[in-house]
Amino acid sequence: MNKALQKIVSQCKQGNRLAQRRLYEVTRDKLFVLCLRYTNNRADAEDVLQEGFITVFNCLHQYRGEGSFEGWMRKVVLRVALAYVRKQKRTFREVPLNESHQEIELDLYQESNAGQLIRMMRKLAPGYRTILNLYVLEGYSHEEIATALDISIGTSKSQLNRAKAKMRMLLEKKLSSQK
């Protein structure tokens, strides 16, 4: 952690509002992408980010300076995002590959690669999307995913495979439509 960030974190622990806002400004954009990947739309992503930051500020005293601070923040926000997923009451059920999950949001997201992928991932069932995110992008193992989502390791593995298959299908469909 660089000195400037260290100072900000220390001031945040004392409840300094300026420092809290500063921390928010320098970390919000990366964390917002994380929230976008687990939610159905930008509004929900903002709600998750909001709750994530409140949790970060309230639990800041639990950070002992061990490991990356940004990593710790990311974990906290991820926990909030997973709580959101659970709150949606989506079951981690098997979904046939040809069953397209209804697209919840049709907002005009910036058509960057990542933006397109997020749109595409929203077409996956929430369970698929969550496991794909945790495994591929967060680097969680199947054991960790099983613990975090309270599912079996086997379910995690099978849903990951199905999620990947679905993603491949969506990507191919996208590519073929561009040809």
Partner: protein, 489 residues
Amino acid sequence: MKKRIPKDGLEKFLQDSFEGHVDSPSYNLWDRIEDQLPEEEKDRPMIFWRWGIATLVASLLGVVLFQQFYFTKQLGHLNEKIIIVESKSKTSATLALPNPIISQAIEEEVKPNSALSQNQISNKVKETIPTRYSENVLIPETENKKHRIANNLPLSSDDVKVLLHDNGTFNESVKIIRKSNEDALLPVNVSPNNISNLGKIAKLPLAKLITETSTPSFNPIIDLGINKPSKFSIGLAIAPIYQLHKIELQPPFPISIDNSHLFKRRIESYGVHKGVNFGYQLNKRWSLDSGIAYQKLQSNFTHKPRLKFKDHLQNTNPPDGSYDFEYTVITSSGLVGLQLRVDQTDPNSNLNPDENVPLSLETKQTFHYLSVPLLVNYSLGLGRWNLYLEGGFQGRFLADHNFEIKNIESLSSKLTSRPNEKFRKPSNRPKEIALDYVSGVGVSFDIQAKWQVQSGFNFTSSLLNISPPHVINTQQSSFRLALGLTRKF
């Protein structure tokens, strides 16, 4: 994010696509977060420090006020007989009373018609307070009374004041010996009937002793009824003012984290102070001043946002080749989010995400303050020209604040600014209310008996911000050079 070694092409594709990808939430998300955070604890050491200074100043003022009132009260009942006496003897002595307020007094028994010579008494005085007098002091023949040289009477230091008393009670008479270069002056007795309603001797009006060789007489300059000391005054003041406005805030988005100096910003403002003052005279030297003042201040500031091309807004829909950027301007009444649009000069050129987008823009802020001071004023002199000191507090309220932005320029050859910026004011800061301490020094001049002009230098600085807590914390220090006109009543 832990880096997992991708097992297949899809995993690698996903990881690469999200690598370094960022997106911004709504502008007002922070306000929503802030609403749910516990109230911020204030910076206590700073407050203690400021209160410490304020307490010290108040204590010093209290001590001086107490001393002043205490001595005034001691002399307060000396109002029955006032006899102005001039020595029969020719004197060439020069009086050099060292200090208008000498708390130490000299007492001695003077027998009737003892005809002590001036030198004898002077020597006694010298023996008693040898260091206080460098020249002879003139004491005339007196009645069989104890007398005290009362240097702390609020009279001209050219006079020798002798208070006569019985058994320690000052209720008999006062002798005032005027320093004069005239020869052969006779004692002058002034009947108390002529100068009734004098009130406390501490408020003895100025009187001029007209000395004639044969028949000296006492002639007040102004009728005593009219010459009653003025209690109240009203005045107007105008002053150019310079204000240093310190704003503490996190740097505007998306300044990099190393620019921690942007946590604090100092803005210089210039303007005019106009005020109406009301004064109440506590005694000859001390007065209380209050009133109401209006201050209009203007501040121009050139901003140079350090933006990168990758910081352009993702969720707006500018025309092709145009990009929107967001820049937050710190103002005294809140944050102003500014959306700036720039065009690519050459639409075919590729802009690197880390390409600098150097912009320059000017902001003009106008502040309208109302303030109510409560000051204690101490006059160092009692003549026509006076030096005065003042100190106290003022309540200050930011009544209005205007903001303008102009001259947006792109300093890059690759981009051109467009004049279609939008303002957003997500942060509505409550109106600023503050308590300041005020100190000043100046000179006053009596142009007539009831009219006075003043010129003074004032320094004002924030002591306490009473406004509800906000992300913006402001502190002001200001200097002004005032010119005032006062009418006494």
